[in-house]
Symmetry: C2
Subunit: 722 residues, 2 copies
């Protein structure tokens, strides 16, 4: 305990010595103290022989796997092994036989490049998903041990990490899900949901902006079940962090409202780490950051504490030398039985914890039949209730038109009442995005049972949190909102939702130059088409009220049943309700709003441009046999039967696409294009639409040119540029 | 000074009361204190009558312009008016007659939605770009007063803001440029570059992750000439910041190494603000954050301190009521002459400051002829030196092939020696991106004359800083680097470079699934095509050494001469050097690497897929008349004469595109496509290329299918998915 007391003392000292006038000096001191402490504590190792053997089992599985693949990041697993040991051999409740047990503790390796730590732990703990042969296949084609943790490849991995800062932000989302479910379902003596969320983050995570966003919100929300380890090894790819990163991370997290603890020797001071976790659990109203000073590549005589060991195999000689330094007498991929026994003994305890939980669950079903039924349906079976979609709005062309963001608001409120697992919010644009649920309050410290999230102006953190709320696998249907243009701020999280199969519903509004006065910084042009490029993401751009309802029905089914994301784009401006627009038609991806048995011309459009095409028929296309197609979703239409697709859009009929966005990709559906291949301008929205060519008259004249044989981009907005 | 002393006292108190155990309580206290102080100081107004008239001139120009356009954000200008007054009427050195004077003080309105503050100030100061009629045209089509500040529309605006957090990050870049130029060019008694960079940021900027990245780096670099005002008005669109944002911002910035000052009444305490600026300037080794407590919409009896005034016009009645409350006796758009006199009097001082500077510059040219010549060429005339490109590498097919990221390293070092204004670096991937310049050291506190930036793992902040280093208009050619996939983290800044005409060179490496073992989280698929969609951005994906040199020649010309951005994507893996590849051919965007007078088939590819097409000729296409075209840049090729384009890629000849990315957009150039429309996988890079279909054999067989009449996507990578 010596080193730990030193650690606590050090922290206290720091607090005492804290002075607004000389933070740099203070920090300098603290660093000196730390390095001393590290050297000292290597001598004052608090780990028992068995603990050390378990910890070294982790280290050498990583060393050997990375040597065999000759690719990977050994430094982090070697430094973080003691943390991993404590979590998987002492602290965490989990059951390898049922990796999706709803009340398991969650673990996220935010520094995902160190994934051999996680694979070693899953293997030692007895997850069938990671056999010793899987570890020997590290980073090989088709293996269960890819180069970063992938929840869709490896059972036991909660979320996919690698893009730095994403994991710790996911962890905030998992902790928020825990807080919500506990507040809704727990009853006296029956804590159905009562678990921790642990994460390990590195210097990279701490430098990334997304971490600022999610950590600031976690502090604001007071998520006491969130415990984050900061692996403070002082090394990044460029070299020592002194080159670029000298801020006081602990002080920053205190500013966020976190409890911050320090362990000065994470390499050997197991007792110190254990004590820090104890203190973290004792603090129930704040998340805890445990700053752990480690040596990257601990145990490697020639490469430890250098960036050479960050991202390259040690090689055989250095592996041997490391075995020598750490007194490791076992061969490659050899794990001493007593180490297996320790991890699997703890895993067995997890299994009995689950057995106890099942007993409680049986009792709960007796005493709380209604809530139990809801919990079973929503969280365990993860099924939608009968008739959940019945309350979605239905409109007729006679109904007064309004902005699709307002229809979206109606849908959100219909779903909020029908689905207790539907929750989310906006990045401080609730009154613009129209995302507030009227039937519930704000999810805040003290009101975790409520479902309106107030994410603040934190798009990227928001999206990563929502991805995790879906990947929590407790049936939550998360949505998050911002302006369409600012999906750029969270693009990497949208991609991760698609890749890692998270059922996030991305609600965006102000979806074109019709944003108007805010100008080109706020007017999406390429945004929506560029998102259609992301594999496994569905993009929906509805044209009216019924299409909006259809988009939500699709998005909820896709989120709940398939755990897949949907991106939606809604208008700021009012739109008329179309003929033939129905939920059923919307869920085909495309359909005719103006039918025509034997068309000589087809106009195909999305969202706010569909009614412009309808109007074009009256202006200059009179007497022509024209079909007008609304195509709310390319991805959904692609999945339709070939006969339906070729029937609706026969290649032989001249087809003009109309969308207030770049024309890219429309060649898949049309021969000529009216689009927007230049940046917009600041002016009233209708003025922008008129000047950039989204008028019935311009669509009609471009259609005439198409009929006269012209092909390709017939109007791209450049005519409005002076 | 009463309120300010209270402010200082308050800050001191806060520092004294600081305790690691109870930040929440401490913060609660501080808030109470602040509101009291605000109430008090409204009484103890330290502004003189004339100052108040100048300040209210700003407020009412904003109120009236926004009422007239019935669109905009009056709240921020009304609260920030005293800060604006002090900067433009007392503190800043600028000359409306020469807005690009190289040593002017820089001002960035990071809370860009409050742009009427900046337009009012530019008008009052006498910039011809903003007449009273321009103000009356606020947010109208073709006006010089768009909905957010746009440097490309309005003379006197340094950078384009609106996307939150971007502006303060730009300011860090401007301050870095100042520090560098001062270190390189200033001589005893001749401070050629010696100016401040001021910025005003709001709650949104403080919540965005990008601000964490750039502020942390600014503190690390100790940029003492950077002075940021935090308009702490406690209101965002969702309502009071208590809903989502309760962190201690001042404490966070102290953790970054900033000096943090507090002014408790920013509405009326002009003396307090003046004193804070004085203290900021006195602190030369740290940036300063001045936390200014303001009331949003100050002066509006019914809407002040509510979110109603954030983003909507006051309306005539409330404007009248505000005139009453602030005792404003002037009509709409009426500015008292004495207010004009104050601002223009100060602007005249700026003009004489420039005159003094011109004298010094004349002396400098005498005493430092060599440096002066360089300064004139690089910074003032912003011209490239003769022969600057001669040292770019030239290679032949006989030269051993290597990764284009290594060719990129050679180019960077050639340019580093030829161009003292060439500077930049990587987001902690220097050894992977290969971006270190050998002829110069690290740009760090104490070594600002050096040119290697160590941005840390901060992609978004890095990109915004580099945009600003170009928009500083002192001739700097900035480059920044990360993995291609992580351009998603900075996508909004890449878009802003294109929109605001910043000459940033985006260097990205590991540009395809050939990244290999790191897996799909690190393998770009849609990234490069999605960037080609951004208007006015040039994307370059070179295929070998000469194309890499050509890409750099193009990018440097475009940056220096046109102030436009280029995005480059380089390989991790080695590539052979091609026949016909030259700098000149590369600068045509596309050319034939294998010529064929009368082709029956054309293969067109980019980057690492070009040599695969060349090999395909030997495998299965023997005897066919085939042209192989390398297309390093779509945008550049589009600019070529129609005859060259139709000659190289005649529409009549069956053409197959091959690129390890989504096939979107290739219809513009080809009839059939080999691409990657699914996510990649973790395995050695060559294995990924082979399994996903980027082999000579697969290209040849797809070409045969094209010749047999098939069209569209012929290979999309899905064959490799199990």
């Amino acid at each position: 305990m010596a080193a730990m007391s030193a650690g606590i003392a050090g922290a206290a000292l720091a607090a005492g010595a804290f002075s607004r006038s000389q933070p740099v000096k203070r920090q300098g001191k603290a660093k000196a103290v730390q390095l001393e402490a590290v050297r000292e504590s290597v001598v004052n190792n608090t780990a028992t022989a068995l603990e050390t053997e378990c910890i070294n089992s982790i280290r050498f599985l990583a060393v050997d796997a990375i040597n065999k693949s000759n690719s990977g990041h050994p430094g982090a697993p070697m430094g973080q092994a003691p943390i991993g040991y404590l979590l998987f051999a002492e602290e965490m409740n989990y059951n390898p036989e049922d990796s999706k047990w709803v009340n398991r503790d969650r673990f996220v390796l935010s520094s995902g490049h160190g994934c051999m730590l996680q694979y070693s732990l899953l293997h030692l703990a007895g997850y069938k998903s990671v056999s010793i042969d899987d570890i020997k296949q590290f980073r090989q084609w088709g293996s269960k041990t890819p180069g970063h943790p992938e929840n869709f490849e490896t059972d036991g991995i909660e979320v996919t990490t690698g893009p730095l800062g994403m994991g710790i932000s996911n962890a905030v989302g998992l902790a928020a899900a825990e807080a919500h479910l506990a507040a809704v379902y727990n009853k006296p003596g029956m804590p159905l949901i009562d678990h921790y969320c642990y994460t390990i983050a590195g210097d990279g995570c701490m430098q990334e902006g997304i971490t600022h966003e999610s950590a600031s919100l976690a502090g604001h929300l007071g998520l006491g079940k969130l415990i984050a380890f900061y692996d403070d090894n002082g090394i990044t790819i460029d070299g020592h962090t002194d080159l670029s990163f000298t801020e006081d991370v602990g002080m920053r997290f205190e500013a966020y409202g976190w409890q911050v603890l320090t362990v000065l020797d994470g390499n050997s001071d197991v007792a110190g780490l254990r004590d820090a976790i104890k203190q973290a659990k004792a603090c129930t109203d704040k998340p805890t950051l445990i700053k752990v000073k480690t040596i990257i590549g601990f145990g490697s005589p020639n490469k430890a504490d250098t960036h050479d060991i960050h991202g390259a195999a040690l090689g055989k000689d250095e592996a041997d030398a490391t075995r020598g330094q750490l007194g490791w007498k076992y061969g490659e991929f050899e794990v001493p039985q007593q180490a297996y026994d320790v991890f699997r003994g703890h895993a067995a305890k997890g299994a009995s914890k689950q057995a106890e939980w099942e007993k409680m669950w049986a009792e709960y079903q007796q005493k709380e039949p209604e809530l139990a039924a809801q919990f079973k349906r929503a969280c365990m079976d993860r099924k939608l209730p009968d008739g959940w979609a019945d309350s979605l709005p239905k409109l007729t062309p006679e109904d007064k038109g309004k902005a699709t963001r307002l229809h979206s608001h109606d849908c959100i409120n219909a779903l909020a009442s029908a689905l207790p697992e539907f929750m989310g919010g906006s990045a401080d644009l609730a009154p613009s995005n129209m995302t507030l649920m009227k039937c519930t309050g704000n999810f805040l410290k003290g009101s975790y049972a409520e479902r309106n999230f107030r994410f603040g102006i934190r798009e990227f953190g928001m999206a990563a949190m929502c991805n995790a709320m879906s990947l929590d696998k407790t049936g939550i249907i998360p949505y998050c909102a911002t302006f369409t243009i600012f999906s750029d701020y969270m693009r990497s999280a949208i991609r991760m939702a698609a890749l890692s199969q998270a059922g996030t519903i991305f609600v965006t509004t102000h979806d074109s130059i019709a944003v108007g006065e805010d100008g080109p910084t706020h007017q999406p042009i390429e945004t929506i088409p560029s998102l259609r490029m992301i594999p496994d993401l569905t993009v929906m751009r509805p044209a009216d009220g019924n299409e909006t309802a259809g988009a939500y029905k699709y998005a909820v089914l896709r989120s709940k049943n398939e755990s897949r994301p949907t991106f939606m784009a809604f208008t700021r401006q009012a739109l008329p309700n179309l003929t033939n627009s129905t939920v059923e038609n919307t869920m085909k991806g495309a359909y005719a709003v103006i039918e025509c048995a034997d068309p000589e011309l087809i106009l195909v459009a999305t969202g706010s441009e569909v009614h412009v095409c309808v109007n074009a028929l009256k202006e200059g296309l009179a007497g022509k046999k024209v079909r007008v197609v609304s195509m709310p979703s390319w991805e959904v239409f692609r999945e339709q039967p070939a006969s339906y697709k070729s029937g609706l859009l026969p290649k032989s009929v001249p087809t003009l696409s109309v969308e207030a966005a770049v024309t890219w990709g429309w060649d898949e559906w049309a021969h000529g294009h009216v689009g927007m291949n230049v940046f917009g301008a600041s002016a009233p929205g209708q003025t922008c639409l008129d000047n950039f060519g989204f008028t019935a008259a311009n669509v009609a004249s471009c259609a005439q040119r198409l009929l006269a044989g012209e092909r390709g981009v017939l109007s791209d907005g450049s005519q409005a540029k002076h």
